[in-house]
């Protein structure tokens, strides 16, 4: 009888642990309960899909700057967790355009996975594209004549395409909240890839900087992505590289004891640090923990970014974004950039076409 009771207690303990975990995780929209054991989207599948989609992107990502352009800059943000109001994303885009940044990078957790939130994200980018196109795009007569369509070219980067397919140079990586509840389908629909790179060349024969975006939304790079990296998918072997900037979601370093630790397993953590050094990385950018950290390790500068969302920073802040300015001689400067917009009312958002309720 005693053994039976002990068994009952033992089984009850196990069942309680499972139920408690399930209840905790299922009560949060941001978490997928079954994802605790095995996610419903695999990094391997995403990377395979990314490599296929990458070849179908109409607009070439590599940029060749005019010979007389002395320097260029780009803006980095993270963890916008867009819901009904993509205002902070719009503010980031407008801030960058005002300053003349060449492009934008986002470190993932772009929107909280719901179709309506991705609709809002997409709409914000589309609305911004009109302003961007007006400022930077011109019709390329020669290409238009050859293709029989109106082809636009970015005056600064040489990137071209028809206006419908032209993408604002906004380069995100996928975050864990972008993939919960099958969110990859939504992210993929907008951005196509989670694993890609491009280069920026300073003039026709000038030095080349490269930008690598890797998928760590599951807290791992995954076997396939690692194989691809090891097989030389990036352009290291093809071109002489001056600066390498790497972007991913999951943090390597933990800003403090009360922030989430890195979730790379130990060997993967060491592999990644080793690989970044091997790439001669200038700066590695991570997000995920919503906290700032800046440190040198192994000759690589590691920057962990704060979030830019309304929940963490309802009144904004002076240091939610980072701007990197790359000089002609290859050195760079880093500036913290503020975001200050407040969340708009539902009425204002609806009048702009945003969706303020979810099904």
């Amino acid at each position: 009888m005693e053994i039976t009771m002990k068994k009952i207690i033992s089984y009850s303990l196990m069942a309680t642990m499972l139920l408690a975990a399930s209840a905790t995780f299922s009560s949060c929209e941001k978490v997928s309960p079954q994802g605790v054991l095995m996610g419903n989207t695999s990094v391997d599948d995403r990377v395979k899909q990314s490599l296929v989609n990458y070849s179908y992107i109409d607009v070439a990502l590599d940029k060749i700057l005019p010979n007389d352009m002395g320097e260029y800059s780009f803006l980095v943000g993270s963890d916008s967790h867009i819901t009904i109001d993509p205002g902070r994303l719009t503010e980031m885009l407008e801030t960058g355009m005002e300053h003349g940044d060449l492009f934008y990078c986002h470190l993932g957790d772009l929107a909280d996975t719901k179709a309506e939130y991705y609709f809002n994200t997409s709409l914000a980018l589309d609305l911004f594209k009109v302003d961007w196109a007006e400022k930077y795009l011109t019709v390329d007569e020669e290409l238009s004549e050859i293709s029989g369509k109106t082809i636009y070219i970015d005056k600064r980067t040489g990137c071209f395409g028809n206006l419908r397919d032209y993408r604002v140079p906004f380069y995100p990586v996928v975050g864990n909240h972008d993939i919960t509840h099958n969110g990859w389908a939504l992210f993929n629909d907008l951005f196509k890839t989670s694993f890609y790179e491009f280069t920026v060349q300073m003039g026709e024969n000038g030095p080349i900087d490269r930008f690598i975006f890797i998928d760590s939304a599951n807290g791992t790079l995954g076997e396939f992505q690692i194989d691809e990296i090891e097989n030389g998918v990036f352009q290291r072997d093809k071109k002489e590289i001056r600066n390498t900037f790497v972007f991913t979601h999951t943090n390597i370093f933990r800003p403090s004891y009360n922030e989430f630790a890195s979730t790379y397993c130990r060997e993967e953590l060491y592999y990644l640090l080793d690989k970044l050094a091997d790439w001669k990385t200038t700066i590695m950018f991570c997000g995920h923990v919503h906290a700032w950290d800046d440190r040198m390790f192994g000759g690589v500068r590691h920057i962990t970014m704060p979030s830019m969302n309304f929940v963490d920073h309802p009144s904004g802040g002076d240091d939610l974004l980072v701007r990197i300015t790359v000089k002609k001689d290859g050195t760079y400067t880093m500036d913290r950039v503020g975001l200050y917009s407040k969340q708009r009312s539902k009425e204002e958002l609806e009048s702009d076409g945003y969706k303020t309720s979810t099904k």
Partner: protein
């Protein structure tokens, strides 16, 4: 000592110095009615996304000074991972009502040869045991050196839970576990999910084994394949 015992010890010794590989999980060898010195060896094989198929070899020795104090040490040779390590641990066992409590302090060193990285880990933990389950809580300080730089991670929570089908005194058992540590690593949030078993076929010898799935990511990060490991080993115990 019987012929069988000599044979088994000989086999253990040969494996320890041989080219085979093994890994022995020592962390949750629960109190089963008496404290006995023990030596063990186990074999690990599986697959890891970084290092591919892996096979390793671990030896472990535990010595009791009395019914309360014990020390143990272990060595780890993971050939295909090119991971080599050792650890030393002191433990104090006491009882509070029906709970067996184990307070432990541990130092672990790992050399990840593939990445030219040395890792030092210090851990303080408390294990609470009842007949059918045990829970471990503690803290780890993990530091590593590579490429001429050093980083010590902020204090990391150590946690584990284990429940068994039979009482610990039984001669066989099967259990389920989850924890963020194992023989020769302490992780952050990466949880190791496992099924373990043992079969005590004599007072001195015990066969044990474990099948672990160690996904990367956890909580809000959807878990994804990282490592799958099976291990099997023998423990020799004496008073």
């Amino acid at each position: 000592m019987t012929t069988l015992q000599r044979l088994v010890i000989g086999l253990l010794a040969a494996l320890a110095v041989g080219s085979a590989s093994a890994q022995y999980y020592s962390g949750d060898h629960a109190y089963d009615g008496e404290n006995r010195n023990e030596v063990s060896l186990s074999l690990t094989t599986g697959k890891n996304i970084i290092t591919g198929p892996c096979i390793g070899n671990t030896v472990h020795y535990k010595h009791y000074f009395n019914n309360h104090w014990s020390i143990d040490g272990g060595a780890n040779l993971q050939y295909t991972k090119e991971l080599y390590g050792f650890k030393a641990k002191g433990e104090y066992h006491f009882q509070v009502k029906a709970f067996h409590m184990f307070a432990s302090a541990e130092y672990m060193f790992n050399h990840y040869h593939r990445f030219n990285t040395n890792e030092n880990v210090g851990n303080l933990s408390m294990r609470f045991e009842r007949g059918y389950w045990d829970i471990t809580l503690g803290g780890s300080l993990i530091g590593y050196n590579m490429m001429g730089d050093h980083y010590t991670e902020p204090l990391t929570l150590t946690f584990g839970a284990h429940a068994t089908l039979r009482p610990r005194t039984h001669h066989w058992n099967v259990g389920l576990l989850f924890r963020n540590y194992d023989d020769f690593y302490y992780e952050n949030w990466n949880i190791n999910w496992g099924l373990d078993f043992y079969y005590r076929f004599s007072p001195r010898f015990k066969l044990f084994g474990e099948f672990d799935i160690r996904p990367a990511g956890s909580m809000s990060q959807l878990a994804s394949k990282y490592e799958t490991i099976g291990k099997v080993g023998l423990i020799y115990r004496w008073k």
